[in-house]
């Protein structure tokens, strides 16, 4: 398939792997964090670690939109869905995320009307077709999805729809990266930067990572060769003693981002003073809320939302996994009590969650299967 196959070519990967091995200093361990859950998914789905020397490890970061939603917000969303005449709409990823009182799927099975959509515009369509219902969109995601949510609100305002609102859970990536850098448990050699977020915010916001924190960052695409090349670029920077922000994903990411998208976000949303992140706790100025001007589209203002903080289950170590301190399999409940079908933590739910990716794709001993998969 064009535009895909060329980024998954095994011969190119082998050549790149040789160059990567050549850049590694003997005896030195390298740890790079891929910030974005999309990268984590690609790494496991294509078995990319087979191409990396044992001394290079990839640490999975917090950039998974579903993973960072705290349990209390799921309960709030379900409380909204329980209002008579409400149709809650959500991306499919969210459906199985457990709150304190179960997931959207459980709530749907118990009688609420929760529907899966592929785009917020689909919920707008549902609102138009159901004028006697209140249609709420469960808005989640980083700067990647915030513009489409904001656009949808603007469209609803234009059409003067009075039965559409969003439950805004949009978060921003930079505070999350700062939280990782502040974490004393982790020594990283560099970052594989989040490509999709960067299409909106550009590469400049990462300057502090190289300038102040002394870590190189390469903004990467989502095909396996993109990630392999980013690892190569990071190692090359280290070898040459450079520490810069580089853009590997220039075919999609403009250095300055997308001003139009940023403008739309700014028109509809503003920073919250603070927001709770699953496993990471409250982080100030880390999330977006609907501006007063568009309050009639803000589900938090329209409905009575409990807003109760629900503590994560004691056994759950999603926080450590999100920060990259623990590998998924190092969590106490990984794979036994917590599995994709009965998840305890969010990292086990989303296809972008590190635990789900490891469980679904990487749950085998590399040593043991070497022989089995040898051709």
């Amino acid at each position: 398939m064009r535009f895909v196959d060329e980024f998954r070519d095994a011969a190119t990967a082998r050549a790149l792997a040789t160059k990567i091995a050549g850049l590694c200093e003997p005896g030195r361990q390298y740890k790079f964090m891929e910030v974005c859950g999309g990268h984590t998914h690609t790494i496991y789905k294509h078995g990319l670690e087979d191409y990396l020397p044992e001394t290079v490890s990839l640490v999975h970061g917090p950039g998974c939109p579903v993973c960072v939603i705290p349990m209390g917000r799921v309960d709030d969303a379900i409380a909204i869905a329980e209002h008579p005449d409400v149709i809650m709409t959500s991306f499919g990823d969210m459906m199985r995320v457990p709150g304190g009182r179960g997931s959207f799927f459980d709530s749907k099975a118990a009688g609420t009307d929760i529907r899966m959509v592929y785009s917020p515009l689909d919920s707008l369509k549902i609102a138009r077709n159901n004028p006697d219902k209140q249609v709420v969109f469960m808005a989640i995601g980083f700067e990647t999805t915030a513009p489409s949510t904001a656009m949808t609100v603007l469209r609803a305002a234009q059409e003067k729809l009075d039965n559409f609102s969003i439950f805004c859970n949009h978060v921003t990536i930079i505070p999350a990266i700062k939280a990782i850098l502040d974490s004393p448990d982790l020594r990283l050699d560099g970052f594989i930067g989040p490509g999709h977020v960067s299409t909106v915010i550009g590469c400049k916001p990462y300057d502090f990572i190289s300038a102040q924190e002394g870590k190189p960052l390469v903004c990467a695409g989502f095909e396996p060769l993109d990630i392999l090349q980013s690892v190569y670029q990071l190692l090359l920077q280290l070898k040459e003693g450079r520490c810069e922000v580089e853009n590997q994903y220039s075919r999609v990411v403009p250095w300055d981002g997308n001003p139009k998208a940023l403008e739309v976000i700014g028109e509809v949303m503003e920073l919250r003073p603070y927001f709770e992140w699953r496993g990471l706790g409250f982080i100030s100025h880390s999330a977006l809320q609907v501006r007063e001007k568009y309050a009639s589209f803000d589900a938090e203002k329209i409905f009575n939302v409990p807003g109760v903080r629900v503590a994560d289950p004691k056994a759950c170590q999603c926080g450590e996994v999100l920060k990259g301190v623990l590998k998924p399999w190092e969590c106490k409940v990984f794979g036994t009590a917590c599995t994709p079908e009965t998840p305890i933590g969010t990292c086990m739910v989303s296809s972008e969650g590190a635990c789900a990716a490891y469980y679904n794709f990487g749950r085998f001993s590399r040593e043991r299967v070497k022989e089995a998969t040898h051709t």
């Binding site: 398939m1 895909v4 998954r8 070519d9 095994a10 990967a13 082998r14 496991y44 789905k45 294509h46 078995g47 990319l48 670690e49 087979d50 191409y51 499919g92 459906m95 199985r96 799927f105 459980d106 749907k108 099975a109 118990a110 592929y118 689909d122 396996p224 056994a315 590998k327 399999w329 190092e330 106490k332 409940v333 990984f334 794979g335 036994t336 009590a337 599995t339 994709p340 079908e341 009965t342 296809s351 469980y359 679904n360 794709f361 990487g362 749950r363 085998f364 001993s365 590399r366 040593e367 043991r368 299967v369 022989e371 089995a372 998969t373 051709t375």
Partner: protein
């Protein structure tokens, strides 16, 4: 008479090992000592790394008896993946338990009229049932009618049987257009003729508006087992080859796109077709070489391979590059974020064959138009048992697990 009334529950299923892990036990080890605890749990496993110990512990948890944790049925329970297996094991199998059902194949194999308990001299029959709730009712390449005939014909064929008689039960919604029903029934009649089966009994129920979505159909089928030997997911051996009979995923992607929710248009039609003649040719060509036949419906090829891995305790090694998938299906799957290995087909089979007969099996399949794109997609090894491993086109390795959740509800 008693043997005749056994029903197969669901479409296909693994042995009872497919499991839901247990809760955290109160005696769960503390963070400080859990690795040591894992070592103790696996005495003799000292040579394993810490990660391998965890993996061993997970495998153990996966083998525990299934239990349905949900208080209510969710869509996942109908997706043909893990939740479906758990539901069948924990609810249906437990209640209806008997040797015929426990084989958990696509259909039941029963012997009637035998001289003694061994059934010697009796007639061997295959018996199966399936319900159809596909949405939309009409889609490119087929409709709920031919699906309902072909699906049950195929379940019989996968038992190695010659399909003979079908029943048809209709659940209709008040207000459903008679013209649509006529269209569906005509299509069933045509499919039955093509498959050489007769629909010999039926039932009709009508429910109030809103209580069902237009039209649901149940079919059951009986076929005669004329060949000796038993096809079973538990008979596969290391070294065996895995063959699929054609390009996978066409049906699932077609139905998904036919719903019009995605505003994607693609040139793809359902692969719905009766497979009994393809199967007969295959079994004629390699009477002793075929271990197992499955049609890759809900849960797709991946689910079947997982069932084989668990039931036969073998490692299933699949080469992604040799799996036949139409480019348009690959493209749509990329956009939808799903893996074609999990997407339903309604006219494709997966077979596991003795390596000595693999070429003959492939040639037999390819000699019919329905099997002309047949391909060997991998082989079985002995270690690690119970796992399906994929050599990705990119050149890496990953596992392919049972389907969790339901990305494509009501596909058949």
């Amino acid at each position: 008479m008693s043997e005749r009334s056994e029903l197969t529950i669901g479409h296909s299923s693994s042995a009872s090992e497919a499991s839901t892990p247990s809760d955290v036990t109160p005696a769960a080890p503390s963070r400080a000592n859990w690795a040591e605890q894992a070592v103790a749990d696996h005495a003799g496993a000292e040579h394993l790394t810490r990660e391998e110990q965890v993996l061993a512990r997970i495998e153990k948890a996966r083998r525990k008896k299934s239990r349905v944790k949900e208080e209510r049925i969710t869509l996942s329970h109908g997706a043909g993946g893990k939740a479906t297996h758990t539901l069948i094991d924990a609810v249906f199998l437990d209640a209806f338990r008997n040797p015929v059902l426990e084989a958990m194949e696509d259909g039941a194999s029963v012997t009637i009229g035998g001289a003694d308990e061994s059934g010697a001299g009796g007639v061997r029959l295959a018996f199966t049932t399936d319900s159809y709730v596909v949405h939309p009712l009409f889609f490119p390449g087929g409709d709920i009618g031919d699906l309902a005939v072909n699906g049950t014909v195929n379940d019989l064929a996968m038992c190695g049987a010659r399909p003979l008689y079908l029943s048809a039960g209709f659940i209709l919604e008040e207000g459903f257009p008679v013209a649509d029903l006529q269209r569906i029934v005509d299509s069933m009649a045509k499919a039955a003729t093509a498959a050489g089966v007769q629909i010999v009994t039926g039932d009709t129920k009508v429910v109030e508006r809103g209580k069902c979505d237009g039209c649901y159909i149940n079919t059951a089928g009986v076929g005669v087992l004329e060949r000796p030997g038993l096809l079973s997911a538990a008979t596969a051996k290391p070294g065996d080859k895995i063959i699929v009979s054609g390009e996978i995923g066409d049906h699932g992607v077609t139905v998904m796109l036919a719903r019009g929710e995605l505003d994607i248009e693609a040139d793809v039609v359902s692969d719905t077709a009766p497979l009994h003649e393809l199967v007969a040719d295959l079994l004629d060509a390699v009477p002793d070489g075929v271990r197992l036949l499955r049609d890759a419906t809900r849960g797709g090829v991946a689910t079947i391979l997982n069932e084989v891995a668990v039931a036969s305790q073998v490692a299933v090694i699949v080469d992604e590059a040799s799996v036949p998938v139409q480019e348009v299906v690959t493209g749509a799957s990329e956009l939808l974020g799903i893996d074609p290995l999990y997407v339903a087909c309604e006219g494709r089979l997966v077979t596991i064959v003795d390596p000595a007969h693999a070429d003959a099996a492939l040639a037999a399949l390819r000699s019919r138009p329905l099997g002309e794109k047949a391909a060997v997609i991998g082989e079985l090894k002995d270690d690690p048992p119970g796992l399906v491993l994929l050599r990705t086109s990119f050149g890496g390795t990953r596992i392919v697990d049972m389907l969790v959740g339901d990305p494509l509800p009501r596909i058949c």
